[in-house]
């Protein structure tokens, strides 16, 4: 049949043409704006959600001490270095006494001199006393003689005046003695004071701890209040956690915590919230809490970064959906509900959210409702959708 010769050619061309048209049709329908939007759906189901608060913080020592002199001076010697473990009362460093020793000696000498002054005043009192007694007895005798008319009145007056003068001199000597005594007391106190200062140049450990900083070397001059050494109690380490104010609902003392240290990210330490700071950071909008370790970890330094997860009570029987299903339309939060083959935006009210992404729906959905989780594009009420298993985003 001669016909068959021409057929293959026309057939091939027809095949090509049809393939082209099919390809074009496929292209037009499957991609571009005409194509339906691929989505994945899931059903809202009841389950448990374990909400957690999350924050980052730094490891700090609850009890830390700044060891320094109460007066300006020069450091004489420092007996410990960073890392040393010290006991309460141990001598850590010493300031130069400078002139303190001389001042102690001078105070002692002054006290001694004051004592001699007291003795002198005492002697003076005795002296004036004896003169006063003599003047008094003479005044009495002459007074009698005057009355008897044996001596003139002026002589009697003279003797009376002598008695009065001797009284006054006695009083003066007595008060001089008192003031000499007071002076002695003052100089004694001064001496005690200098002695106390002499003691204060000894810097001692106020409690057991570990030296964390050595801020001044022997020979350096420090002022009052400047630290020579810093000490901290390693058993008092805790984590100062900062939590976003907006996501800190339920923060209270006693919440169990999981602490991850930056230096040891694979190990989880258990802990507990021991204090919620009454003052929050208004600039960074964070609340502050202190979380203590249940068991003090070894080899931890202060200032180290830590991530803390605080576990709030588990909510059971909650209606859960993945948080990827939530959409925001203006002020409303909601989900795209697939019901009766149609798509509808349903506002919902959310409750707790777990770190795994499951969020509790308090209002708006019931169990078994099908919601759109992932979508290729933003959805609208009249979007045509095509439900697929996954959108091809790679997961490990």
């Amino acid at each position: 049949m001669k016909l068959s010769l021409t057929l293959p050619r026309q057939a091939w061309f027809a095949v090509f043409g049809i393939a082209l048209l099919i390809g074009f049709g496929w292209v037009a329908l499957r991609s571009g704006p005409l194509a339906p939007i691929k989505v994945t759906v899931t059903q809202a189901a009841k389950g448990k959600v374990a909400p957690a608060l999350f924050g980052i913080g730094t490891v700090e020592a609850r009890r830390a001490y700044l060891i320094g002199p109460t007066a300006a001076g020069r450091v004489r010697r420092v007996l410990v270095d960073v890392g040393d473990v010290v006991k309460a009362g141990a001598l850590l460093a010493e300031m130069e006494p400078v002139d303190l020793d001389a001042r102690v000696t001078s105070a002692a000498a002054a006290a001694v001199r004051a004592r001699s002054a007291v003795a002198t005043a005492q002697a003076q009192v005795q002296d004036t006393q004896s003169r006063q007694e003599l003047a008094a007895s003479e005044a009495r005798r002459y007074d009698e003689l005057g009355r008897k008319g044996f001596v003139g009145q002026s002589v009697v007056d003279g003797k009376l005046q002598q008695q009065r003068s001797a009284d006054a001199q006695l009083a003066a000597a007595e008060s001089a003695l008192t003031s000499a005594r007071q002076d002695l007391a003052r100089l004694d106190a001064d001496r005690e004071g200098v002695k106390q200062q002499r003691v204060n140049i000894r810097l001692e450990a106020p409690a057991d701890g570990v030296v964390t900083a050595r801020d001044a070397e022997p020979g350096s001059t420090v002022i009052a209040g400047q630290s020579v050494l810093k000490l901290e109690d390693p058993g008092s380490l805790w984590v100062k956690v900062r939590l976003d104010q907006g996501r800190s609902a339920g923060l209270r003392v006693g919440l169990p915590a999981e602490i991850t240290l930056r230096s040891n990210p694979r190990k989880l330490f258990a802990g507990k919230v021991v204090r919620v700071e009454p003052i929050s950071d208004s600039v960074t909008e964070e609340r502050l809490a202190q979380v203590a370790f249940d068991q003090m970890p070894q080899g931890v330094s202060t200032g180290e970064m830590a991530e803390v997860a605080l576990h709030l009570p588990v909510v059971s029987g909650a209606l859960l959906i993945p948080n990827a299903a939530l959409r925001h339309h203006g002020a409303q939060t909601g989900v795209w509900l697939r019901a009766d083959g149609r798509l509808r935006f349903v506002p919902v009210k959310t409750g707790e959210e777990g770190p795994d992404g499951k969020v509790q729906i308090v209002e708006g959905l019931k169990g078994g409702d099908e919601v759109v989780v992932y979508s290729e594009r933003d959805l609208k009420d009249d979007s045509r959708i095509k439900v697929v298993d996954s959108l091809g985003g790679k997961t490990q």
């Binding site: 074009f24 990827a324 992932y374 997961t395």
Partner: protein, 397 residues
């Protein structure tokens, strides 16, 4: 009457199809170029739409967070929130930087956002939204990260927990969303060496390092290391208020500028994309001219190869217009094949392009019309040659 053009095409269909394929690939490139431009415009629109914002509040005298860098204090949003007509106001930061994953670097725009506020990606294609306040990230699929990957941004490692699609910057860089505080730190905090140097310089300054004021140096270092800036505040306008009116109110604040969505579109499209538009326009023109030249050449060659037959046809009484129609139909047929192949090819290889290629149906229609017009014009060369043939040449050989 049979179709001479159809028969001729059928007869040398292989040559025709191959030429059509070649032309089609060229047309496909043309479509792709146009699609790249549309994609860029769409990138800009999607960027603006997906942010969920009605207004962008930025540093005064700058052109918004995308076209120009802008820096405003991060507590400015509080004042904005208190203004009439403002329903939501949220800080955002944008920074284009390299994001490391294992040994590879990806250039991405790192966006700092607050969950539930404008600036958050509207929808995901995998994974979940961020639940922790630090060190979690949502990345666009164009970064080629997978859910569960650990990526490094500046000083910290982040876990990718979710993936988005079509979240790209106006420059085409895919976006990576991280919590605002982490983004602020990434943007404004320097690396370790710089910080150490800074501390040394501060310590060497006697005005700042006073022995009589213990704690002063530490306070200064702390203040230098902290950052309280963001790039923009995204505002959602309340129901019943006009964005223009609210923007006007915000602009009265002396240190801030506010743009509505229309203004942002204009900035992005008119200013950022304008140069690309010109480039792509020129490329499209060149490609069109090249396609026209190819069609003209092919049809002319095919016609020249038929000169003798055309003389015979004319001699035995074929209309000039029948012959012209044959040539024209061949050119249009070639154009049709080229168009179909081109459209299919552009759709197939479009997703493989690093930039988003958007092909709209109206572009296909427009492209079809242009292809047909170009083929018609290109065929005039061959038609002129055919018409000039003298039928007498068939006699006497």
């Amino acid at each position: 009457m049979i179709s001479l053009a159809g028969r001729d095409i059928l007869h040398s269909w292989g040559k025709f199809v191959l030429t059509g394929l070649g032309l089609g690939l060229l047309i496909g490139v043309t479509f792709t170029m146009a699609g790249v431009y549309r994609g860029m415009v769409d990138d800009a629109k999607v960027l603006l739409n997906n942010s969920g914002a009605d207004l962008w509040v930025v540093q005064k005298d700058t052109l918004g967070p995308y076209a120009e860098s802008s820096s405003i204090p991060d507590d400015a949003y509080r004042g904005i929130l208190g203004m009439p007509g403002v329903a939501q106001a949220a800080n955002v930061t944008y920074l284009t930087m390299q994001v490391r994953k294992a040994s590879t670097d990806v250039r991405a725009m790192v966006v700092g956002f607050e969950p539930g506020q404008p600036g958050e990606p509207a929808y995901l294609v995998a994974g979940r939204r961020i639940t922790r306040s630090h060190y979690e990230a949502v990345a666009d699929v164009m970064t080629f990260f997978a859910v569960g990957d650990r990526i490094r941004i500046r000083r910290h490692d982040y876990t990718v927990v979710g993936l988005t699609r079509r979240m790209v910057s106006s420059g085409g860089d895919p976006m990576v969303f991280i919590p605002l505080k982490d983004a602020q730190e990434a943007q404004f905090l320097k690396d370790n060496d710089a910080i150490v140097n800074g501390r040394a310089r501060t310590a060497a300054n006697p005005a700042l390092n006073r022995p009589g004021v213990p704690g002063l140096l530490d306070a200064i270092n702390a203040s230098q290391a902290s950052n309280h800036n963001v790039n923009a505040v995204l505002v959602r306008v309340a129901e019943g208020h006009s964005p223009d009116a609210v923007a006007q109110t915000l602009r009265r604040w002396k240190h801030l500028q506010a743009f509505t969505r229309a203004q942002m579109e204009e900035i992005l499209i008119a200013k950022l994309i304008a140069i690309f538009a010109k480039q792509i326009g020129m490329i499209l023109m060149i490609l069109t001219v090249v396609s026209a030249a190819i069609v003209a050449f092919i049809i002319y060659t095919m016609t020249l190869g038929k000169i003798r037959e055309i003389a015979v046809l004319k001699l035995i009484g074929t209309h000039n217009r029948t012959i012209a129609a044959m040539i024209l139909q061949q050119a249009l047929g070639l154009g049709l094949i080229g168009f179909l192949v081109g459209k299919i090819a552009a759709t197939i290889w479009g997703p493989a392009f690093p930039k988003y290629v958007l092909l709209l149906p109206e572009d296909a229609v427009r492209g079809f019309v242009i292809v047909m017009v170009v083929c018609t014009i290109a065929s005039t060369l061959a038609i002129r040659a055919a018409l000039k043939v003298d039928p007498a040449t068939a006699i006497g050989g």
